[in-house]
Amino acid sequence: MFPALIPLIPFISALLLMAGWKRFSRIGVTVTGCGSIGLAAVIAIIIAMQFSANGEQAIVQHAGNWLEAGGFKTGFDFRMDALSVVFVLVITIVGFLIHVYASGYMHDEPDYARFFACMNLFVGAMLTLVMADNLLLLYLGWEGVGLCSYLLIGFWYKDPANGYAARKAFIVTRVGDTAMAIALFMLFQYTGTLSIPGILENSTHVWSVNDGMITVIALLLLGGAVGKSAQLPLQIWLPDAMAGPTPVSALIHAATMVTAGVYLIARTHTLFELAPAAQTITAVIGAVTLILAGFSALVQTDIKRVLAYSTVSQIGYMFLALGCGAWSAAVFHFVTHAFFKALLFMAAGAIIVALHHEQDMFKMGGLKNRLRGVYWVFLIGCASLAAIPFVTAGFYSKDQIIWLSWSAAGGHVGLWLAALLGALLTGMYTFRMFFLVFYGEEKTKVHHQPGNSMMIPLYILAVLSTVAGFIELPHTMGHVTLFSNWLQPVLPAVSVLHESLAMEWTSQALSALLALSGIGLAYAWVVKHPKGMSDFLEMPAIMWLRGYWSRGWDFDELYNVLLVRPFVYLSRINRRDLIDTLYTGLGAFMEWCHNVLARTQSGLLRWYILSVVLGAVAILSVLIWRIYL
């Protein structure tokens, strides 16, 4: 089996769907669109099994040359090692489930084929990203997923707001992509190669720890990751990206694309280890983002925006783990997050469809008995997101990050406290959403029940959101390390400074307690005392704070003042193009000269004679002057 087949199959099916467009029947589109991802998933599983049987020997396939100029040579090299196998499996399997779900969700959509073409293109680009053996190919996939994200956020392009959201996502991530491109140029200049293993090997010879240049490169790479993964200060695009269809939010803006930044940092972890300053900044960005986004999620009214802010917050946890040097913990949280966040988004989509495209949580309520199946899977997803102890995957992955944010070599008490506060917030906003949707009085009638094609992927993801946690258990509970052992060949184990079972128990108990008390608070807030809470929330100071948080801490306004308005102002004063005036003026002067000279061409013979005479006189005068005087 060839690794290159895995991204190739979605690409081919995307091409077929684009070329066929309206010639495909609906069934044909469904079979092509879902089947290609299913086939890719099967091949991925086979290759993963081969890979595992061969003692985790990295498989590299050179599928062709791309560029060859002078000493520079780069090709379509695909690499399967422990890290990319994890990402490929999650992308293809979760991607397949989301495609199946989408075939039900988008059933009445006129542009059904276009939707699946873009989705397949996305999966192909994402697989290219995670399987690339050189940074240039990775960058191709990186830009490819950005393009597909743009296309799918603006899928319902007839509403100008969706087009605006798509452009915003594209432009904001472009800021990060530019930083990343510069990092690529610098890496090539210093290490002389773009191949990822080559760069990682050469980097330790070229730079010593804390070298200024490697810090700059690591920070630029971090800039790229921050843009793609919607972290501070480029997090503003993700909540608006919810303008896309819900399967898109589940696939691109929760499970896969937004974690590309995590992948990039994990992939280039050697560079970050050489630049401890950049690593600390990564951790701080993660910690700050997870708290800010948690507060924002707490006050949203749109169910998809709650999930969007929660995604930003959870990726904050992953960045925190990366910053602490807990590489495998970050990747583990990526896996569980992909399961439970895709589950939550798709369950939310099922609710939205059932209620006739109603996204406001305050217009939902009392759905517990109306949407039985969705209720249970949503509960499992929420439990996993809020990290309810012992039974959920989210608990094991998040708890590991919280513990390591203090105990790991790059950890700090401040980061640990931030992570704990995040746990409380997560419990609160998750179950606030849950109670608002399923409890209380029924405000909107259920329009129809979701079909099998939508529910079966949800059940599968619900199972995965629960059992995926048991492949990695902490010291205090059985100490299973299947996942970190698997990643060992690629990502070094985290160096733990404070090895203490008692402390680990304390940390776990605290985070569990905070998550549960968050849930309790949400229960009291929404179900038990809605009256008292609403009185509290109506207080002017609280009202202001709610508005401030729900606008995402006014980052949009900040960028508006700092960047957008000066830019618009500059372009307005330069509307007539100051520099161009010089050239236009030159042209105008020439035209004026032409008009003057054209006047002399009167057609009057005697004028011509006179001018000939005057010319002759002038020439003779000059000659005489030169000769005799």
Partner: protein
Amino acid sequence: MIVHPTTAGMLLAGVLFVLGLISILVRRDIIFMLLSVEIMLNAAGLAFVVASSHWGTADGQVMFIFILAMAAAEVSVGLALILQLYHQLKTLDSDEAAKMNG
């Protein structure tokens, strides 16, 4: 006052040339303009003859023969053009031909 014959001849040629020039600028009748050109040619021819007698060579007189031949050719072409112009415009006024401006 004794004027040197060469000087007198040259002065005469100059006066003739200027007279021809003035009349070509002043007249609008195209036949008179052609005549004026002839006067100017003859003034130039006279200057050649005077100069050749001054240097005692025959070159200037040869040049005058050339000028006569050229003037004959010029008149034949010129008259043909005048005829054509008259045929087209029904007038001999050279300013009328300004409508060919373009």
